[in-house]
Symmetry: C2
């Protein structure tokens, strides 16, 4: 939970960090939900992402534009928060073994892929996102990059503990694990996402594909 | 080369397979190029992909709509051919070793990624393609799926020859090689595409990431 101050009488935390992203710290959850519902309604009604303006959202939600701008600096940040409210949350790594943490991290990618397939909203927004560079950049910066750094840290830990070869580039090693999962969840819409996919990818990459003696 | 009959006096091969895709068998290369140039001009002029109609292309190229429909059943097929004319051609596998062929196949993905970064046209069309399901489906069916089958055949050959473990799913093994390449070329626009990337991915996946003794 990032909503630390939801009460009506509480000071709006957004006031304390004017100019920053202010993500997830609305004065009132009810207002935020009404704003999200309005944006979702517009998208479901067929309005292209690029034409869903703050003005249209405010009008549909029955709030003033200032109410929206108090929460988000622009519509890209609003959409990114909307996506995060629908997507599964980021995983917490148990920290027992590097292999175990890798499986948890890859499993979170698989689950997000399933969520995207099952949510018409997520599917709609992601399919339009590549043609909307500013939203893609914001989503990348706020959501994807922190997840990627989590993976890089894990690979470094594995190298330090002797669970992963340390003669390869950290970024490359991370991509060997995440690439197959992202290929099936992001690029190939019809690919199977079996329950044990994360585990099978992690073990195959760790053990290698040369025949065993 | 799929253009077997380009001469003005030759029988139009398209007439021989009415109703089929007729890809790459125009009566005249000059007319085809004029049609491609018209489509490119419209896209470069800022017309969204979904609004580039056969009618607009015909008018811009100075040809009749029938001239276009004689070559392609619809605009999706036209766009797919246009993309193929700009993208690097599919690789020919030397067939010496499975490892060598895997490197050639992965290198072809890297080269297509570089081409996409260096071509404003490819970048433009691919960024709009996800929001245009019919074009995405056609491109997938005509271009991506045959390439994927090439990879699956190669993995099966590796298993039969004892160069690749045969206790894993063929599709999974193929995704372990292609996933990291597609992650960097399709999903993460800023990723590095070093000249030896294909080789490093193939060898790391074959050898595995467990520390060597």
């Amino acid at each position: 939970m990032t909503r630390e101050n939801g009460g009506a009488g509480a000071t709006d935390p957004a006031e304390d960090c004017a100019g920053s992203a202010r993500r997830g710290r609305p004065r009132s959850e009810a207002a935020e939900q009404a704003i999200f519902d309005a944006a979702i309604g517009l998208l479901e009604g067929g309005t292209p992402l690029t034409e869903v303006s703050i003005e249209k959202i405010a009008r549909t939600a029955g709030v003033g534009k200032a109410t929206i701008y108090r929460r988000w600096p622009g519509k890209e940040e609003l959409f990114v928060d909307l996506l995060r409210s629908v997507e599964p949350p980021d995983p917490v790594l148990p920290g027992d073994s590097v292999r175990g943490d890798l499986v948890v991290l890859m499993e979170s990618i698989r689950r997000r892929g399933l969520a995207k397939r099952n949510s018409a909203l997520l599917h709609n927004v992601f399919s339009q996102m590549q043609a909307y560079p500013k939203l893609w950049d914001t989503y990348h910066q706020v959501v994807i990059e922190p997840r990627r750094l989590l993976g890089l840290d894990l690979v470094r830990r594995g190298m330090a503990l002797g669970e992963i070869r340390d003669d390869l580039d950290v970024e490359l090693v991370n991509d060997l694990f995440t690439g197959p999962l992202l290929l099936r969840t992001v690029i190939r819409p019809g690919a199977t996402l079996e329950p044990d996919l994360a585990e099978r990818v992690v073990d195959a990459v760790l053990e290698g594909l040369r025949p065993r003696d």
